[in-house]
Amino acid sequence: MTRELPQDPMIRRLIQQAKQANLSRRTVLQGAGIGAAALTLAACAPGAASKPTPAVDKSATDKTLYWANWAAYLDEDPNNKGKYPTLDAFEKQTGIKVTYSVDVDDNNTYYGKVKGQLALGQDIGADTVCLTDWMVSRLISLGYVQEFDRSKIPNAKNLTPALQNPDFDKGRTKSLPWQGGFAGICWNKEKVPGGLKSVADLWDPSLKGRVGVLSEMRDTIGLIMMQQGVDISSNWGADKFHNAIDEFKKQVDNGQIRNIKGNAYLEDLKSEDTLAAICWSGDITVINAEAGDKWEFAIPTAGGTLWNDNFVIPIGSKKKANAETLINYYYEPEVAATVAAWVNYITPVVGAKEAMLAIDPALADNQLIFPSEQTLANTKIFRTLKPSEESEFGAAFQAVLLGS
């Protein structure tokens, strides 16, 4: 630092001043550094182990509710976008003002957004949110959701027996199914007149660069594994998963797969960037209604995946009772039938089929809403993963998405 000082008297003086202040500045910096290190250690020390506690319920005085959900997942007024008839009826009936928001595009991205607040027991904005089985399982095991007061949800007795005791929530004390569905394949009927039968048909050279797949690992890899002859609900080993990843990576690397997305894949279908896709059953009915009858859905011959999305009440929500009132409402068979008639997903409510006969008898036989034993036999639930598997498989899947 023994440089010659510049000639300019003003600058010269400034530099001299700065040099004099140097010592004290360094001391201050050191002090700040030590303080920062102490702060960091303090921040790191506790945490992870302790589970957050539920927020105090203010539903009695605050008649509002924020419901976060996936796209194309609630009956919408065809003439008035953003108006939801069943929800309007609920608001009139109960006086609870509901903000319905399409916030969830993908389980992982949604979880990534809110997990920090959940871990601290803070309000994430949403008072109830519908997420997929495996994610709900994670939320429950981490203590990130509130326990229902089942006396406030009497209609939960209508829950179909098959879904009453899943391994992640025996007796359904913290989650209740919203809708279920299949992942399968769909195609643009105008551009692909021949249609598709299996996942292997998606890899046809004529569709190069026009295929979309879901960023939901269990659906995309699940379908590929089924195509490879693996029963995804059985206790398969890591080699079976990696075989499917290899096939997936091959199709991404050679440009057959154009994009890998969450619910936003519907935009690509509409803009015709993709002509065929791995997709969710009900969505196709919805975009057919929105953008002209152009797409068709099928469960691949080798089998499709079956999943459920469930209502949960995040740990920081102050409107638990309001959320329970809402869940109770959607478990009325007539309401459930109205929603199912629009979203075309499997409703978990017993009695909805009878109610559907009054709304639209043709839909009571729709395999996407009321699947028969035969249809269900051709679909499987992706088995529950151990935490170590979830990290390993998740990383392998994300690595393909990043092109490595």
Binding site: S24, T40, K115, R138, S141, S391, G394, A399, G403
Partner: protein
Amino acid sequence: MAFAAFATETAKEQTPRRGGKIALLLLVPGLLYLGLFFLVPLFSLVFTSLQAPSGVNFGQFEAAFKIENYAVFGQYSEQILRSFLYAVLATVFALLFSYPLAYFIGVKARPWPLLQNLMLVLVIAPFFISFLLRTIAWKSMLSDESPFVTGLKAISLLAPDAHITGTPFAVVFGLTYNFIPFMTLPLYASLERLDTRYLEAGSDLYAKPFTTFRTVTIPLSMPGIVSGVLLTFIPAAGDYVNASREFLGGTGTAMIGNVIESNFLLSNNYPAAAALSIILMLAILVIVLVYVRVSGTKDLL
């Protein structure tokens, strides 16, 4: 060098004040800010990068000294190199586009202050709209069925099955577009002070216009070039919006920012993400130091 412009003016005598305490007091907010928002996160990042999985639940980690976490560098070296390549390309293109623009606004348009201000507003105006929205807009303008792409295909400038979105071209284009104002403004600031009498002197001494430009204009605007390059290159190397699959990128264009985002938000592999962030910071630091040394403008820092 920048002081040369003031050489003719006499430096005003200022009464120096010996206010050590006041100076320190004035430094406190800045130091607190630096401590809270730079040092603490930095320490926390270093700690996170050394954590090991606790094994009980998915996405939970405990304090450890697992230096092996830094081995992710090998797994994602391709994305790291790609980030710097894209960032360098974007910086070069931004400089090529911005220099004439800044020169026009700062030098040629001097007789018309109104035009000068209007053009400056046009440079800054995109900032009034969200960065994300502008990128989304480009995505739809460059999508397969857009008039631009179908037009290019109609005149056979683009193969019938080619795409623009999801290609390196789209990503570099997006980076260049989004960071051009960061290049233009510092260039304008230094060119605006360019004393045109030096240029006249150059031509009086029989220098060709290009020689004058090379030996007079460029050296005088060097501070602007250096700060513009730094302001463009650093954020561009870490950018994760343009290269994201939701925006202009595809699976083959992931940059280091996308890898970090994916590890943080999707895989919940915080140690790997933190290690990559630190690697990125160090790499940028080294590149910037080398650059500053080579361009010989140490005084700027």
